[in-house]
Amino acid sequence: MPRVLILLLVLIGASGLARADLHEAVAGLGSRSFDDKAQAIEQIARSGDPQATVILDALESRELVEDRANQRIVLGEKGGDGWVLKDPISGEALGTVGSRDARPVVINNRLRELIHNLRAVAALASANPLERRAAASQLVGNDDPVVLDALRERQREEDNPLVSGVIDTALNIAVLRNPDTELAVRLNAIDAVAGSLEPAVRNVLRDRFSETDASSEKRAAQKALASIDARAERYQMADTLFFGLSLGSVLLLAAIGLAITFGVMGVINMAHGELIMLGAYTTYMVQQIFPQGHEWSLLVAVPAAFLVSGFAGVLIERLVIRFLYGRPLETLLATFGVSLILQQAVRLIFSPLNRTVVTPEWMSGALQINPVFSLTFNRLYIVFFALAVFLLLQLVLKKTRLGLQVRAVSQNRNTARGLGIRRERVNALTFGLGSGIAGIAGVALAQLTNVGPNLGQAYIIDSFMVVVFGGVGNLWGTLTAAFGLGIANKLIEPMAGAVLAKIVILVFIILFIQRKPRGLFPQRGRAAEE
C-alpha cells in the first residue's frame, strides 16, 4: 500500500514538473523571435502532455492569443465582439476581452511546417493506413535524424505495403543523401527508388550523378534518372492535354449560349458576357441565402441562374432587339449599351468590389494520380458539366417542339411564319434559352475566376471567336472550335508564353476566316447562301 502511494506521489510530482515546463514553453511562444518560438514548439511537442496537441492546433489556427493587458499566452476563441479566453493548460475560463485587446501569436511558414512535421511524426502511429501514408509522404525528403528514427521504427511494424513503400522511399533518400554510406548500399537504394516520381528522388539522383566518383553509381543514377524523366514527360503531355480540355470547356460554356443567339438567330449580342455575369452573381446570391449550404448550393444555383439570365434575355429581346431584326450594326450598338447598363447596375447594387463565391469541398483540391500528375477537381467537373450542357441543348433543339420551331425560324423566317409558327414568341424564347445557358456558364465560371462587374467582358471576345471559327449556326462546330482552340492554346503556351499564345491564336483565326469565311463547319443549303 505505501509503495503504491509513493509511486502515485512520484507520478504526480513528475507530471507537476512537466506542467511547469509546459507553462514555460507556452510563455516562450510570446517571444518576438521565430527561433525562440520554434524551440518552444518542440518543447511543447516533446512534453507528451495531452494538452500539447490542443495548444499546437490552436497555434496553427490562430486561436492561441497574447492577452495584451496581462501579457500572457492563452487560448482565445472569437466570440461576439471579442475574444473568449481560456487557460491553455488547465482549460479554465479567463473571461472575455475586446477584439483588439488580444492578438493571435504570429507564426511563419517555417513554424507551420515544423508543426506539420511534428504532427506527421505523431500520425505515423495512427490506426488508419491512409493517415499513415499521408504522414509518411509529408516526411519524404526530411533529413532530421529524429524523423528518420521515427520512420525506421514505424517501418519495423508496418504491414500495409502502400505505407511501407512510401517509408522506403523516404529512408532510401536519406541513405543516398548521407555521404558516408557504402557504395553497395547506395546502389541498392538507387535501384529501390528508380521507379518513383517524387521530386525529392529526382533531385537526390541528380546530386549523386554529379557528385559521385564511382562509375557504377554514376551509371545507375543516370539510368534511373532517364527512366524517371521519360515517365514524367509522358505525364506532362497528359497534363497539357487536360489543361487544353479544361480551357476548351470554359470556352464552350461561354460560347454555347452565343451559338444560339448569334449562331441560330443571327443577333449580335454584345451583352452576352453580362448575362454570364448575372449567372455568376446569382450563384453568389444563392450562397448568401443559404449560408449553411455551400456544399449543395451550386445545384440550386444552376436552375436559378438559368431563370435569372433567361428572364433578362427575354426582357432584352422584347424591349430592344425586337425592333432591330435585320439591322446588325444597330443591334450591336444597342446591345453594347445594354451591357454597359448591366455592368453599372451591378456596380451600384453589389458595389464594384468582387464578391466571394465559396468553392464547395468536393470541388477543391486535386485528384492526385502521382507526384507529377494531378487533375484539379474544379476543372474536371467543369469539363463534364460543359459536355452535359451541350448534350442537353442538342436534345432540346432536336427533340422538342420549341427546338423544331427554332430551327424552322432560323432557316427561313417567312416560310416558318407562313406555316403558322408564332415568330415573335419563338424569337423571345430562343433568345431566353441562349441567355439562360449563358447564366449557367456564369455558375461554372464563378468557380474559376472573379465574380465582379467585369466578369463578362473577359469572355465576350473569346465567345465570338469560338462561334465564328466553328461556323455560325452549327453547334457541333462550336464544340469542335472550343476544344480545338483550348488545346492549341495550351500547346503553344509553354513555348511562347501566355501573351504570345493568345496573339498566335487570334492571328490564326483571322487568316482562317479569310480563307473560309463561314468557319470550320459552314451551314449549307439555300437559306444559308442568301
Partner: protein, 432 residues
C-alpha cells in the same frame, strides 16, 4: 402682351442666374477645393473607389476640426472611368474649370503618366498614393506610395536572407509596372549572385484567368531541389484565379512561397484565403498592425463607410499620410498656391499608421517602414518581418544602368526631377 411676359421672365431668369453666379463665387472664396480623381466605374473601380471614400472621410474629419486656415474643404469628385486619356481630360477640368487647389488621384501608372503633362502644364498639385515602378519625379507630384526600393528590394532581401531562396520566378502582368520592377529585380538578383538559369520570368495579359500551365511550370521549376519563391507583380483581378490555381494544384506556401506586391487586404476580401495561408506580401502598412493610431483609423473608416467588414489597406494609408501632409503644408505656407505648398511639403513629418513617422524627402517620395506579412485564413496579414527603421524612397533605381546616376532634388540649387549627378545636368523638367 405676350412679349411683355417673356421679357419679365427673361429678367427674372437673368437675376436668378446672376445671384447664382454670385453665390458660387462667394462660396469659392470660403472653401478650399480638393479634387478627387479616382475611377468609380470600369475595371479599376474595384480598387480606386475605396480611395475616393478615404479622401472624402479625411475631408469630413478635417472639416469637423474646423477646416484648413479657417476655411472648409470642399471635395470635387470626378469619375475618369478607368479610361486613361479621360484621366488627363478630367484633371484639366478639375484645375481649369473647378479651380481645385490639390488633386488626390490615380492608381495605375499609365493613368498617372497621362495626368502628368496636365498638372505640369497648369502647375497643379497631385498626390499619388500607390506603390509604383519609380523612374519619375515631378515638381507637381508627391508620391506617397512605395518606390521599388521600399517594397520590391526589401522583399527579395527577406527571401534571400531569411528564407534562403535560391531560385526566383518573377511573374507579372504585362505592363509598365511589372516590367520595370522585374528589370530592377533581375539586375539586383544577378548582383547578389543568382544565376540566369535560376530566374524565370513570366508575363501574362491583364485579367488572365487560366493559370493552369503557368502554375504547373512554376511547380516544375520549383521541384528541382533548390528553394524557390515566386515574386508576383500580377495585377488586380488576375490574382484571384492565380491563387485559386496554386491552391488546387497543391502549391503550399512552405514549398514555394509567393510574395506579392499588388495583393493587399482588399484583394483578399474577394477570395477564400484558407488555402493561401503563409503566402507573403510586402507593403508599408497592414491593417493587422497593432497601435492606437491604426485602431482609431480603422474605427473611423468603419463608421464612415457603415460596414464593419470593410478592410483598410496600404494605398489608404498612403492617402491618409498624403492628405495630412498637405493640410500641414497649407497651414505652414499659409496659402494654397502650388509652389508655396510644394516648398512647404519638403521635410514635412506626420505620423503614419504603423506607429512611426512619415517624412517627405527632397525627391517628393516618402520615408517609410517596409513590412512583410503572411496571409492568414481570415484574409488579414500577420507581420513576420520588418525593416529596423525607415527606408527612404528612391525615385531613380540604383540597379538600372540608365538611372544609376540620376537623382531627384526639388530644393535649391538643384531643383530638378532627374539630375545627373555625374554630368551635373538636369535631364527633364526643371523649375524656373
Amino acid at each position: 402682351m405676350k412679349s411683355k411676359i417673356n421679357l419679365k421672365r427673361l429678367a427674372a431668369a437673368g437675376l436668378a442666374c446672376g445671384s447664382l453666379l454670385y453665390g458660387s463665387a462667394a462660396l469659392a472664396a470660403d472653401t478650399i477645393k480638393v479634387g478627387v480623381l479616382h475611377s468609380l466605374s470600369g475595371t479599376m473601380a474595384i480598387s480606386e473607389s475605396t480611395l475616393k471614400d478615404t479622401v472624402l472621410m479625411m475631408i469630413k474629419e478635417q472639416n469637423a476640426k474646423g477646416g484648413v486656415m479657417g476655411k472648409k474643404l470642399e471635395p470635387v469628385v470626378v469619375d475618369p472611368a478607368s479610361d486613361w486619356p479621360l484621366f488627363a481630360e478630367k484633371a484639366r477640368q478639375l484645375i481649369t474649370q473647378d479651380k481645385v487647389d490639390v488633386i488626390f488621384g490615380c492608381w495605375t501608372s499609365v493613368s498617372r503618366k497621362s495626368v502628368l503633362p496636365v498638372v505640369e502644364e497648369l502647375n497643379g498639385l497631385l498626390f499619388y498614393p500607390v506603390q509604383y515602378e519609380g523612374e519619375e519625379s515631378s515638381k507637381n507630384v508627391f508620391y506617397t506610395g512605395a518606390a521599388p526600393n521600399q517594397q520590391a528590394i526589401p522583399a527579395v532581401d527577406y527571401l534571400l536572407n531569411d528564407l534562403g531562396v535560391k531560385r526566383f520566378v518573377l511573374a507579372g502582368t504585362d505592363y509598365v509596372y511589372p516590367r520595370t520592377t522585374n528589370k530592377i529585380l533581375e539586375a539586383y538578383l544577378k548582383a547578389k549572385g543568382i544565376k540566369e538559369d535560376d530566374i524565370m520570368i513570366n508575363y501574362t495579359p491583364f485579367g488572365q484567368s487560366d493559370w493552369q500551365s503557368i502554375v504547373s511550370r512554376i511547380k516544375e521549376f520549383g521541384g528541382e531541389g533548390k528553394k524557390t519563391a515566386v515574386v508576383s507583380t500580377i495585377n488586380g483581378d488576375a490574382n484571384v484565379p492565380f491563387y485559386k490555381e496554386l491552391a488546387n494544384q497543391g502549391v503550399d506556401a512552405s514549398d514555394i512561397p509567393v510574395v506579392a506586391f499588388s495583393v493587399g487586404e482588399q484583394e483578399l476580401s474577394g477570395i477564400d484565403t484558407g488555402p493561401l495561408v503563409g503566402h507573403l506580401a510586402a507593403w508599408n502598412y497592414f491593417e493587422s498592425v497593432y497601435n492606437d493610431a491604426n485602431d482609431k483609423f480603422i474605427e473611423q473608416w468603419h463608421q464612415y463607410i457603415g460596414d464593419d467588414k470593410r478592410v483598410t489597406n496600404d494605398p489608404m494609408e498612403a492617402t491618409y499620410i498624403g492628405f495630412n501632409m498637405w493640410v500641414k503644408a497649407v497651414e505652414k505656407a499659409k496659402s494654397t498656391d502650388t509652389d508655396k505648398v510644394a516648398a512647404a511639403m519638403i521635410g514635412m513629418q506626420t505620423p503614419n499608421l504603423t506607429g512611426g513617422t512619415a517624412v517627405m524627402n527632397k525627391n517628393h517620395h516618402l520615408s517609410k517602414p517596409v513590412l512583410i506579412g503572411e496571409i492568414q485564413d481570415d484574409g488579414q496579414f500577420a507581420v513576420v518581418w520588418q525593416t529596423d527603421g525607415l527606408v527612404k524612397g528612391d525615385a531613380w533605381s540604383d540597379y538600372l544602368p540608365g538611372s544609376k546616376d540620376l537623382i531627384a532634388d526639388w530644393t535649391k540649387p538643384v531643383m530638378c526631377g532627374n539630375y545627373n549627378s555625374k554630368t551635373k545636368t538636369c535631364g527633364g523638367q526643371a523649375a524656373q
